[in-house]
């Protein structure tokens, strides 16, 4: 492994698919065949496998909880770094069991791309489709499909085409076109980091080489400024607004508009510790002082005066319910969007759908259970700054909390109800 270029960012991808289709095993195999595992880790895996009385289990690279190994199922999401001579990756493992969908969504929400696994023998299953829905909802468009366990179907090209066709058409319904579909066996290593000799009919790229096709998601500098304020911090009598720039750039002397309050103010200084700055760009965590003493604090979003976000107290959204306690109409929730937090209610569940079959469960539904998706109208106690998810993800996605816990994730489809 050559010198590490700190200028290259890492690309984060999540491995998704139905329970037991081989997600953790694929990661383990990829790391093992590329010599990415320290010998001590391999030793630990051998010992743990022997203790439980079976062959070396590659999934143990990611499944580190004792319960995960004894029950042979991934419970929670985990991340691991992986390097090829060209690039650096963060691989996010996501549990495939329905019960752990919350952990799957947690893992996937950080990803820029996905490797989608389907068992060649088992074919497209309930969580295969549900995970596809989650990817579509999270806006993850770059997908590589791996048809795994080809050894179990006698390396059959026909079976490969059948499963691949079924999945591709389902993904198509969700607007996802896979970059490529790879027949593989994670357990035996075929087409993961080494080309298979068992499938002469397959001439396409193997998994490790296909990763080079994934593109990093850029922080959009060209989009209008969106800077959600985290805090108003006082230091030596100076009032500094703290926040991270989601999109766009900011300069001293510029007039910015704070939403939802509508206050306009001139940027007096940009504060970065021990640096003299006159500007900052998307991705940076900065401080900001304003000319005048406007009462701006957490929950305001700085925008350019000529390209503001929408301010709305009633909007349309798709909500993926995660909590095991179903939502019932009339319940009060809290909505968190960027650094804004506001009490809200769901006014209508216009359509309730199953996230796996995509079938309509009900129109004007009265409740929403775990893994169901509601296309809803949300009313917030006071107007907040929002945008359609497709336009500015950071202001178009939100979490609904109930009591102390996150109960659902959602994306805004229309900023007006």
């Amino acid at each position: 492994m050559g010198a590490v270029d700190s200028q290259t960012r890492q690309l984060k991808f999540v491995i998704v698919g139905h329970v037991d289709h081989g997600k953790s095993t694929l990661i383990g195999r990829l790391l093992y065949d590329t010599d990415s595992l320290p010998p001590s880790k391999m030793e630990e895996i051998r010992t743990a496998s022997a203790q439980l009385g079976h062959d070396v289990e590659f999934s143990y690279v990611m499944d580190n909880l004792e319960e995960e190994r004894s029950q042979r199922v991934t419970i929670d999401t985990a991340q691991i770094q992986f390097r090829t001579p060209q690039s650096e990756y963060v691989i996010i493992d996501a549990p495939g069991h329905r019960q752990f969908i919350r952990n799957m969504v947690t893992g996937a929400s950080e990803a820029e791309a996905a490797v989608f696994i389907v068992d060649a023998a088992g074919g497209v299953r309930e969580q295969t489709r549900r995970h596809a829905y989650v990817l579509a909802m999270l806006g993850i468009e770059q997908v590589i499909v791996v048809i795994n366990k080809m050894d179990l179907v006698g390396w059959s090209q026909e079976r490969f085409q059948q499963v691949s066709g079924e999945l591709t058409s389902f993904l198509g319904q969700l607007g996802i076109t896979p970059l490529l579909v790879i027949p593989a066996s994670a357990k035996l290593g075929d087409n993961v980091a080494k080309p298979s000799t068992n499938m002469p009919w397959c001439t396409g790229a193997i998994l490790i080489d296909s990763l080079a096709q994934l593109r990093r998601r850029r922080r959009p500098q060209q989009l209008p400024l969106r800077l959600p304020i985290q805090d108003r911090y006082e230091l030596d009598g100076k009032k500094i607004l703290l926040g991270r720039i989601d999109t766009g750039t900011i300069r001293t002397g510029e007039e910015v508009l704070f939403l939802p309050s509508g206050v306009k103010a001139e940027v007096a200084s940009i504060e970065v510790f021990l640096q003299d700055r006159t500007g900052a760009e998307a991705g940076e965590s900065i401080g900001l002082t304003l000319r005048g003493d406007e009462p701006i604090g957490r929950g305001e979003v700085a925008c350019p005066t000529d390209a503001p976000a929408a301010v709305s107290g009633r909007f349309r959204a798709s909500v993926f319910w995660l909590s095991n306690d179903a939502f019932r109409m009339g319940e009060q929730l809290k909505l968190r969007c960027a650094t804004q937090q506001v009490p809200c209610t769901i006014e209508r569940i216009e359509r309730l759908t199953d996230s796996s079959t995509l079938e309509l469960i009900a129109q004007d539904a009265r409740q929403m259970a775990a893994t169901q998706v509601g296309h809803v109208v949300i009313r917030t106690e006071r107007p907040i700054a929002v945008e359609p998810f497709a336009q500015t993800p950071e202001l178009g996605r939100f979490v609904l909390t109930r009591g102390h816990d996150a109960a659902a994730g959602g994306i805004i489809t229309e900023t007006k109800g």
Partner: protein, 270 residues
């Protein structure tokens, strides 16, 4: 100009630290004097433009390397830290130590976890910033950025909260506290390249003397140095690009049994 990888890592950590400070009543930084929590301390100083608006806590087992105490005392003054030293004096007076106890697990529990419990109880912290990273250990790869611990300190690893995008859990039942992990997404190599770029001071224990250096530091009784000739940060970075040895290979508590780390963390270990 797109931000460099280190800039992005740093920016995310600053974001998390600022969230924690704003969202919790009383937070503190847990400083082990090691390279990771020292980098975190550095990032906290950048997040708040110098002086830290919260306490720094060192859990002292009494068995740390003398160089660590020296480093702590020197920089506590230089950086004007509000330092609290937490120590389970009762257990130490009763003779607890790595030799006296039946297992590493018992010793770590008494001198670290228990000492931390006492400190939190006394000071009333509702969140702690810790410098742990996912790549250190398989169990740590399972952590959330913000992770709740109940009154008994238990980590309910089979039932972790959803953590979507940058919305970390910010509401808790009375008596629980949160562990906040702003460095979770960094690797060992990232820490060292950042330490070099920012010229962050680190303990001399990390640099090779007589062919050995410490890659991970804690109690002198339970840390083994690794073979190395890396005598400065540049050489450590070079060494890490080629080594196949695990970072915590020299840490005794990780090796006692495969799941010791899981058990320690479930009970509230850092």
């Amino acid at each position: 100009m797109p931000l460099s990888k280190l800039d992005e890592l740093e920016s995310r950590s600053i974001f998390i630290v600022r969230e924690a400070y704003q969202q919790f009543r009383k937070i503190a930084l847990l400083w082990s004097i090691g390279k990771d929590s020292t980098a975190l301390l550095w990032i906290c100083r950048k997040a708040f433009f110098g002086p830290l608006p919260f306490n720094v806590v060192h859990i002292d087992t009494g068995y740390k390397f003398p160089q660590m105490y020296e480093f702590r005392d020197e920089y506590a003054v230089k950086w004007d830290l509000d330092l609290i030293v937490g120590k389970n004096t009762e257990a130490l007076e009763a003779g607890m130590g790595p030799e006296a106890s039946a297992s590493k697990l018992d010793c770590c529990t008494a001198l670290k976890t228990e000492a931390l419990k006492q400190t939190i109880g006394r000071e009333g912290f509702d969140a702690l910033l810790l410098g742990i990273r996912r790549d250190e250990h398989g169990i740590r790869a399972k952590e959330r950025v913000v992770s709740p611990r109940d009154r008994q300190f238990k980590w309910d690893y089979q039932n972790q909260p959803a953590e979507l995008w940058d919305h970390y859990k910010n509401s808790y039942a009375e008596g629980t506290h949160a562990r906040v992990h702003p460095m979770l997404h960094w690797t060992e190599l990232d820490i060292w390249t950042y330490t070099r770029r920012e010229r962050i001071p680190v303990s001399p224990l990390y640099f090779a003397r007589d062919g050995k250096r410490y890659r991970s530091i804690g109690c002198h009784t339970c840390c083994q140095p690794v073979d190395s000739t890396a005598s400065n940060v540049d050489e450590i970075i070079e060494e890490l690009a080629t080594t196949t040895e695990a970072e915590r290979a020299g840490r005794a508590q990780d090796k006692e049994s495969i799941y010791t780390m899981q058990k320690l963390r479930a009970m509230g270990y850092m």
